[in-house]
Amino acid sequence: MSLSPPEKIAEQARSLLNVEVAGESAAAAGGTEVVYELRDVHVHYGQALAVGGMNMRIHKNVITAIIGPSGCGKSTMLRTLNRMNDAIPGFRLTGEVLYHDRSIYERSIDPVEVRRRIGMVFQRPNPFPKSIYENIAWAPRILGLRADLEERVENALRAAALWDEVKDRLKQSALGLSGGQQQRLCIARALAIEPDVLLLDEPCSALDPIATASVEELMHELKRDYTQVIVTHNMQQAARVADRTAFFSLNVENGSRSGVLVEYDTTKKIFTSPGDQRTADYIAGRFG
């Protein structure tokens, strides 16, 4: 097939997306403190390579988006950052994942402690079958953050822009909330234990556009205090919220498929002048 020059594709992409690409701030350019550094990270499930070739730095107070086709290892990549993959049988990681210059896969590191520092929000809202208050208060209480628990709950709900909607029904079941409210509750729950990093795996895929907008707005506000990494299928969302974007692609080699990090740069660069043809094709909506 004949390919258009990258500039043309970029232009197509821009008009296709028809969105304002997140500004290229100093932070986006990578000038600030490094939170994560991935050095030649490969992840296997059993014998099969799931995703490889990950070399990237994730910066403080920056929103980093992970995009790419289904099965390319976006979730896997995200879950290596807080060791959520450990529970999966056959999971094996090579290379180094440095978190503030310390390898989190070292023998001496307690994975529970890693997850304690790094919050995670999942694709499907998963509130506990408890009251709204208990959803937030449960983990802090257990983790020894018992002082001013009520205030902590309120702050978390405020930070997640949910306080005004639920302040009169804190004792009611969280399962009675709408999907968007449940997802923000899950974000509040993650924030209540004061993590350093927030990982979000397609947090809006089960939400309608209005709820999605509220989550995106929330992410913008949380930027001041948190480092965020978001996996998304929605390229417009990546363009709207992320400062930096990593594009993963699927490599098909003699019958086996594995993900690979193709390009990682500022969101503006990725969406307007991608350096790799595969990125350009994906952005322009041409797969394969």
Partner: protein, 300 residues
């Protein structure tokens, strides 16, 4: 039009016979299955019906609140001591079986490896299938021969009978707890046992209790182990479960039905009615609770 429709007509015609046979088989199968289900309902209706008809005459407030009159064939009195005794024996048995059953279920769902889980499940299923008289004989040899019949010996036998039921229903309910919830707790940096105590068990609690009630209802009616471990018939209320055998409902039914006096036969039917009512109420309420719990957990 006609040219296109005629081949399909022949096709239908060719299969017509085959189709009719299959339809007939289908109808036969459905009919016999329905009939079998009908027989089950009928048997239950006949049993319950005859117990109600024959037992209702014996049933009265004193029958439930008074101890038996002295001597077989005597007039008046009730089965209060047996009701208390049965409740005590089953309660002690439950206190042993329930925690153990929950722990076994937790082991199976949370900690067992693919290698260790199947043999344990198999053992539970075998235990569940073991005739209760065998369990009775086992406890008889273990505790009664060397010592004497006690209510406690019966409690242990009933606990062994209840254990696999409780473990299996608990396990089933734990498996229904969505993995999403475990992930959520996991991602909060909470220790495994905290997650189990704080999220998994509470989410499944309704179902676990329901399973327990079903097992308790079953234990209430168990007779074989009581014959061997606790076959006393008396007219005093005894709470000394560790020291003596204590009266219970299945034993009352057995003794009264063996008696030659018609009044005692009526008592046997009355006691049977009390027992069956207890079991039915327990079963039905437990099943209603279970259905609600399943909906709540799965329908999220």
């Amino acid at each position: 039009m006609t040219t296109t429709s005629s081949p399909s007509t022949t096709l239908l015609g060719a299969e017509d016979l085959n189709l009719r046979r299959r339809r007939l088989t289908d109808r036969l199968m459905r009919l016999s299955a329905t009939a079998a289900a009908g027989v089950a309902v009928a048997v239950l209706a006949i049993v319950v019906g005859s117990v109600v008809i024959k037992g209702a005459s014996a049933l009265s407030i004193p029958f439930l609140t008074q101890n038996p009159a002295v001597g077989l064939g005597a007039v008046g009195g009730g089965i209060a001591n047996a009701i208390v005794g049965s409740a005590l024996i089953v309660a002690v048995g439950t206190a042993m079986a329930l925690p153990l059953g929950i722990l076994i279920a937790l082991y199976l769902t949370e900690f067992a490896t693919p290698r260790t889980a199947p043999p344990i499940r198999l053992v539970l299923d075998l235990l569940n299938g073991t005739p209760t008289i065998v369990i009775g004989v086992f406890i008889f040899g273990l505790l009664v021969v060397s010592h004497s019949q006690t209510g406690f010996a019966a409690s242990i036998a009933l606990a062994i009978i209840m254990l696999p039921l409780m473990a299996r229903t608990t396990q089933e309910m734990l498996l229904l707890v969505p993995g999403d919830l475990r992930n959520a707790a996991h991602a909060l940096g909470v220790r495994r046992w905290r997650m189990i105590l704080g999220i998994v068990l509470p989410s499944a609690l309704g179902g676990i209790l329901t399973g327990a009630i079903l097992a308790v209802a079953r234990a209430f009616g168990e007779t074989a182990p009581l014959l061997l471990c606790d076959s006393v018939f008396g007219n005093t209320t005894s709470l000394n479960i560790f020291g003596t055998a204590i009266p219970n409902i299945p034993m009352d039914i057995y003794r009264y039905s063996e008696s030659g006096f018609p009044t005692d036969h009526a008592r046997a039917w009355g006691a049977a009615l009390v027992l069956i009512a207890l079991i039915l109420v327990g079963n039905l309420s437990a099943r209603a609770m279970l259905a609600r719990q399943r909906r709540r957990l799965a329908g999220r």
